[in-house]
């Protein structure tokens, strides 16, 4: 029934136009803005559901394709489509945006219409980026989303927001412009900007390495990987709650998505040559950043570092594929690593969103993110404490939660590669438990630390709903990840088969 509807275009333009409508209608009427913004977000989420239900599971073909000529002079088309990698990420985006809009209900007081408009426009741009099959279209969405995020952090952020947002913008801009040169170079070679044509392009080793490095800059900054991660703690700490949630839950995934869509299939030989570097950087993220997270005194900063460590797992899973193949010739293990990375991305989308929301709940009440200002919150906010502990457990990768599935798959893949990689990767289980549970101990448990905490009121219905929603998905994915894996399987197998062929 919906098969020939332009669902993807709808998903892109509904929130963008809805965002501007929210701005126009709700500029002087916050109530209208909230209701309209929520309606648009929910409508987009509902409109994205057919993607999940009508998605054909067994094929790696791009689905729900739309093509229209856009810039004929450069052979650039408005070409959309999704596969098993991008579809779950689009659903994650539409879901998280609903969460973000609701989370802003009371906590954003200044210029709410602008805030919601920025969030909705950003949603459309992110979906466009995941759905783009044309490299220029991808790049346009990829860059354009910097503008609303720049404004969100800069206008509604914390005290050092200007520093953080300019750093955020310049870092990501720096990464992406080199990718642009690489894309143009490949266009000159292939005569087309279609990403699939790039996949098929034969590229020499030197060129592959240069292209790989260009993509690496773009996506490593986004993910972010050590040593280009330093913008993230700043941006996270200063961003308003909704901005942090979007950043952690979706924007970081763009880097991972980019590796799967561009780096691996376009430059498989360079990826194979440089896989040691990537694995080492990922392990540094897992171990070193994990240690850094331990000593943070600011809750948001702690979660930001924990995000970097978790995303290190994602890149580890992706690049283990080459290591496993060259050592064992086993492609089964290779796809395990990539699938693990994907699951980790989705799972981190829920968990990090929930963790940042939780900090937001506390921040709205006491206007402090310092761990030292809290203690014994469980006494005054029992429901909140229950959720917080659940998400903390998920963050440490407790079986039964979604955090476990991805990490387990990646560690399993790592064992196929090399014992020591697996050993180092597994230290995350200890480190994550260390920093997360220590956070829980200091914030949630113990005696009531001060009179501010004593005066806390538990979550209201709105906050309860948000936490419950995210908890549901965290647990669902934890106990029953099969549907997600089933959606991704064909695409990942296809990807693995593709990267097995040398392009030289």
């Amino acid at each position: 029934m919906f098969a020939d509807w332009p669902i993807l275009s709808l998903l892109i333009w509904l929130p963008i136009l809805g965002g501007f409508l929210t701005l126009a209608a709700g500029r002087d009427a916050p109530v209208v803005a909230r209701r309209l913004g929520l309606s648009v977000a929910v409508a987009t989420f509902v409109a994205s559901l057919p993607l999940w239900f009508m998605f054909e599971r067994g094929t790696a073909e791009m689905q729900f394709q739309e093509v229209a000529s856009w810039i004929p002079a450069f052979n650039v088309n408005y070409h959309l489509g999704v596969d098993g990698i991008s579809m779950p990420l689009i659903l994650l985006t539409t879901l998280i945006t609903v969460v973000v809009v609701i989370a802003a209900w009371e906590s954003v007081k200044d210029r709410i219409a602008y805030y919601l408009a920025a969030m909705l426009v950003m949603e459309g741009l992110m979906i466009g980026m995941f759905a783009a099959m044309d490299a220029v279209l991808f790049y346009v969405f990829f860059e354009a989303m910097l503008i609303p995020m720049f404004l969100v952090i800069g206008i509604w952020g914390g005290p050092r927001r200007v520093y953080a947002t300019i750093k955020f913008f310049l870092y990501t801009f720096l990464g992406s412009v080199f990718m642009l040169v690489a894309l143009i170079w490949m266009y000159i070679q292939s005569g087309s900007f279609l990403i699939q044509d790039f996949h098929a392009l034969q590229i020499g080793m030197t060129a592959q390495i240069l292209i790989f490095l260009a993509f690496f800059l773009a996506f490593a900054v986004k993910i972010p990987m050590f040593p280009v991660h330093t913008w993230l703690p700043d941006a996270h700490v200063e961003a308003p709650t909704g901005g942090s949630v979007i950043l952690a839950a979706i924007m970081l995934k763009i880097g991972g998505y980019g590796f799967l869509r561009f780096s691996l299939p376009i430059t498989p030989d360079a990826s194979a040559v440089l896989d040691t570097l990537m694995i080492v950087l990922s392990l540094i993220a897992v171990v070193y950043i994990g240690v850094v997270a331990l000593i943070q005194s600011d809750m948001k900063k702690l979660i930001a570092y924990s995000s970097i460590a978790h995303m290190g797992f994602v890149t580890l899973g992706f690049f283990l594929a080459f290591y496993i193949y060259s050592n064992t010739g086993d492609w089964q293990g290779a796809s395990l690593g990539i699938a693990g990375g994907m699951v980790q991305m989705i799972s981190h989308g829920f968990i990090s969103a929930a963790m940042f929301l939780a900090v937001g709940v506390l921040y709205d009440r006491l206007h402090s993110r310092q761990i030292a200002d809290y203690g014994g919150v469980v006494n005054t906010m029992p429901w909140f404490a229950a959720f917080f502990v659940l998400f903390a457990m998920a963050n440490t990768g407790l079986p039964g939660t979604s955090g476990f599935v991805g990490e387990f798959m990646v560690i399993l893949a790592a064992f196929k590669a090399d014992f020591w990689i697996a050993f180092l990767a597994a230290t995350t289980l200890i480190l994550a438990a260390g920093y997360t549970l220590w956070l829980v101990k200091r914030v949630i448990f113990g005696t009531v630390a001060n009179e501010n905490v004593a005066g806390l009121s538990d979550m209201n219905r709105r906050e309860f709903f948000l936490m419950g929603l995210l908890a549901f998905f965290t647990l669902l994915l934890g106990v029953w990840p099969a549907p997600l894996l089933e959606v991704m399987n064909a695409t990942i197998d296809n990807l693995v088969a593709h990267i097995a062929h040398s392009k030289l």
Binding site: I71, A73, E143, A144, I147, T165, L170, V181, I184
Partner: protein, 482 residues
Amino acid sequence: MNFEIPAFLPAVPEMFVLGMACFILILDAFLPDSRRDITYGLVQATLAGAAVLTLWLAGPEVVLTFSDSFIKDPMSDVLKLAVYVTSFFVFLYSRPYLMARDIHKGEFYILGLFAVLGMMIMISGHNLLTLYLGLELLSLSSYALVAFWRDNTRASEAAMKYFVLGALASGLLLYGMSMIYGMTGSLDIAVIASELTTADEALNVPLVFGLVFLVVAIAFKLGAVPFHMWVPDVYDGAPTAVTLFIATAPKIAAFAFLMRLLVEGMGPMHADWQGMLIILTVLSLAVGNVIAIAQTSIKRMFAYSTIAHVGFLFMGILAGTDSGYASAMFYVIVYALTAAGGFGMIVFLSRRGYEADRLDDFAGLAKRNPWFAFIMLLLLFSMAGVPPTVGFYAKLAVIQAAVGAGLVWLGVVAVIFSIIGAFYYLRVVKIMFFDEPKEEASEPVQPSGALATALSINGLAVLLLGIFPGLLLSVTHYAIAG
């Protein structure tokens, strides 16, 4: 020698503008100061009329007339239209500025109209002399425009500087032209090109010698490093309405001038001038973007940003392909549109006795007038080359031309400097959106009706052309390749 009556038809727009300019000049002398709007209206009507005539004559065929010294081809049609549109917006933005300062004189528009005529001749020149005459008509009008607010000492100083350096550049240009004439024996662009393909090896040194002077003169006029020193002083010193004019439409004409001289005339020497342009490109990108960071005056900042944009413009041309020329043309049109909007915003914020040309004059604009802060945001991101604004496609096109010509490293250099450039554009956005308004200028501002509409159209055009860049790109490809 027999004399043929030339075909006048292809030059009808020029003749129309000339006739109207003379007519308005006389009429204006009889108008009281309170009726200057008649002059203004007639000038705008002249531009509209010229646009209609150009559109009427437009076609894919190449027509030469006046003993082959005048050319009408698709490129001239498109560029002239771009000049009319830009000048129309410029005059529209200038009017409230001039009125607020009691300098709403007919001379401004008439000099502007003569400058437009000069640009049209530059665009259609097919002979070294025609090109030179067009350039001089434009330059002399521009010098007078800069000095036009005669009570303002900074403007007078800027005019002096502009005149002396401009005259020097004209001298260099003439010298180069004389060398080329001496070696090829012709002033006709097409003859020069054909002579060059068969030129004796021995002539190579004097030809390159002449070429250097041509390139230097062009670099002077466009403001490419190291011949850029006049740009910031003139842009900053001239009244904003005049800066608005000299920073926009003349760049389009200068592009045509460059195309006629270097590409059509000296095309066979592409290998020689490519190297020169590469040096100018890299230097312009570097100096323009880096020094812009240190500016506190937004007019000076835009001046340095213009220098950087000239670097990008050269990048498209030096590729030496049709696609590259079309990209450069796209770039220059986009630049003119964006710069017009940017300077228009300064006009909008300024009042009598308050020029609003310092960066912190934009502080808190998002609170004072959110809509125009948004328009300025679009313009700035377009200058920085961030999608979805049209500035991105302009950069994409020229970088693609350079990469296509095998100059990948130049593309990398260009993107590195565009990151540096992004910083100072972002800083203005930061000042507008994140800073609080200054105390003396914190009340809401609202531009007058026509200015508001025009600025909104200008800003939205930057966004809409960014969402649908295909049309304008196709037009520029048509203009170059026919």
